[in-house]
């Protein structure tokens, strides 16, 4: 029997079987009842779709100036929905391109820190004792480094590079993740079902993979939704200081920086990027709160 036949066979079997509601499905149903979280989720989906598709739809480019319009306010006539900046570049496209970078940095850096943090924290927490001690002291050591100086030094030595921003933010953010995961693992490994798995002959690695990590995910997901906005904010801060992405590429932080300089003559160039940034951060935080409520097992009767 080949793979596809087997799947078909399984499916045929499954039709005779009652499907259970996993904790994930339960949490999803609870999340759907939470209006604020749901609206936030919608905002984020729209935002992601917009930054991906938006620039392709527009007649303008984020690098090429419109020679006829310097610093024009938003108008339908010119076709510049958000106006243009001092160099005549379309602000709508630039805001979306900036959003691409900001969201990309936020998500990729968080995923990197997630991967390192989960494996590091789960191993430290599960094995405990000396291993745990050693691994967590290392974390403490890195924690003690002044992060901003570290980033600035990196930028100064290697020049401004978007890849470096990932590295810099990821290098610091996994520490938090590792600590949280370790704490959760410590409490999980004393749960009866982990002992039951050991009694069933599972190896340590099987236990971590099958029992510890899936049960960590709830907490991790909440933490991720709260980390992404944090990372976006760090990136914006770096860009605001002029240490972020390089022109002609841009990010929301860089745009806010530019806009702030022209606040009196062209307020729209601050308003739109700042509005997008704020809306995204808001949405992530609300979603995180909603997820926390939905995944919290204390709600269960």
């Amino acid at each position: 029997m080949n793979e596809s036949e087997r799947d078909a066979f399984d499916q045929a079997l499954d039709t005779r079987v009652i499907q259970g509601r996993s904790l994930w499905v339960d949490a999803w149903h609870r999340l759907l009842k939470n209006r604020a979280a749901l609206a936030s989720l919608l905002v984020l989906v729209v935002m992601v779709a917009l930054v991906i598709i938006g620039p392709m739809m527009s007649d303008w480019d984020h690098e090429i100036p419109d020679w006829d319009n310097y610093s024009t306010p938003p108008s339908l006539e010119t076709g510049h929905l958000f106006g243009t900046d001092a160099l005549g570049r379309d602000l709508f496209v630039r805001t979306l391109i900036g959003g691409r970078i900001s969201l990309l940095v936020g998500i990729v850096a968080t995923l990197v820190s997630l991967l390192i943090g989960i494996s590091y924290g789960a191993i430290a927490g599960y094995f405990g004792g000396r291993v745990d001690n050693l691994m967590m002291r290392f974390v403490d050591g890195i924690y003690a480094m002044p992060f901003m100086f570290f980033v600035i030094v990196l930028m100064v030595i290697f020049g401004r590079n978007i890849f470096l921003i990932f590295v810099a933010i990821g290098a610091v953010n996994w520490l938090d993740m590792a600590r949280i995961v370790r704490g959760q693992t410590l409490s999980l490994k004393n749960k009866p079902f982990v002992e039951a798995a050991r009694a069933c002959g599972a190896t340590e690695m099987q236990i971590i993979r099958r029992h510890i990590v899936p049960n960590l995910l709830g907490v991790v997901i909440v933490y991720v939704t709260l980390t992404i906005p944090q990372v976006i904010l760090i990136e914006s801060f770096l860009s605001f200081l002029g240490l972020g992405v390089q022109e002609p590429l841009t990010s929301w932080g860089a745009l806010v920086n530019e806009g702030a300089q022209e606040l009196e003559t062209a307020p729209w160039s601050l308003l739109f990027p700042a509005g997008f940034l704020a809306a995204t951060l808001f949405a992530f935080n609300f979603l995180g709160d909603g997820l926390r409520d939905a995944l919290d097992p204390k709600d269960r009767v």
Binding site: V17, G20, L23, W24, E195, R198, A202, T203, P214, P297
Partner: protein
Amino acid sequence: MRQPVLKVRDLSVHFRVDAGRLFRHDYRTVRAVDGVSFDVMPAETLGIVGESGCGKSTLARALLGLVSAQGGSISWLGEELVGLGEETMRGKRREIQMIFQDPSGSLDPRMTVGEIVAEPLKTFYPSMSRLQIRERVQGMMQMVGLLPDQINRYPHEFSGGQCQRIGIARALVVNPRLVVCDEPVSALDVSIQAQIVNLLKDLQKKLQLSLIFIAHDLSVVRHVSDRVMVMYLGKLMELADRDSIYLSPRHPYTRALIESVPIPDPVLERERARRVLDGDIPSPLDPPPGCVFHSRCPHARDACQAEVPAVETLEDGAQVACLFHRELAAHGPAVQSPDQGSGVADSSSVSETDSSSPEPR
């Protein structure tokens, strides 16, 4: 003559704990299990009773190698388990399985019933196909009284009794020869308790299982066990056949335990002559010297403080660790049996006597 499947000799499990306060370490050794010996016969149920801190759960975990023993020997079908490497010990867990106290807590909430029951199969028979696994799992579910079409449901969708059935299915799916049941029914309601007890006994008969049944509820242990071992603060107090331990307990602690259990019959319960033990169970951190029970024993003498009583094997095979058990034997039965002669032939003579004043035997 039948050979025991499990021979435990002089088993000791010690933990080092830090009883100190801030800035000051005070490492002490807790002798959770201290020099315990017993056998388990094929298809037999050995009950282990004792109160908190008596080491019964630690003993269970030591048998599976979940905690390591410091001394003594555990011989499984002639093979020594103490000192085995982690890998080899893991393999042994196919033959020795365990059922846990907390029915829903011992099931991973993110896994379906099918995945939970299949886990030992995947570990011990990695070459089994998915179809074979599914068949085996569903067969097992049917055997423990669950509907096989619930294979994709999650633990939180089941009641406590059903969760315990899932735990039993998981333990039995790899055809173990010995199942260690650690308080399997104490978290369940009485009506469900009876279901699970019946199920365990039924499966034991069908599969010729040996069971170690650990509980603090003496009534349940009396019902399921062939022999009963009584533990106190890590030590064996008494080990004897079920009926002899309940009808003529030899150790004063056994007697006290039996007398402490309330009987669901208002007339009998109020007429019962009972001696309530004084005081609390001492901390396992510093157990009393000599006989560990002497601090609460109503019959304690000076010698009990000075000497650790050896475990003595009597004519009928019973084992007692008490210096004066022969003298105390004159005190008569602890429980007056009201159901004259229903199955206990040799005890009916006792039960017909006046229930409030036990006569010396």
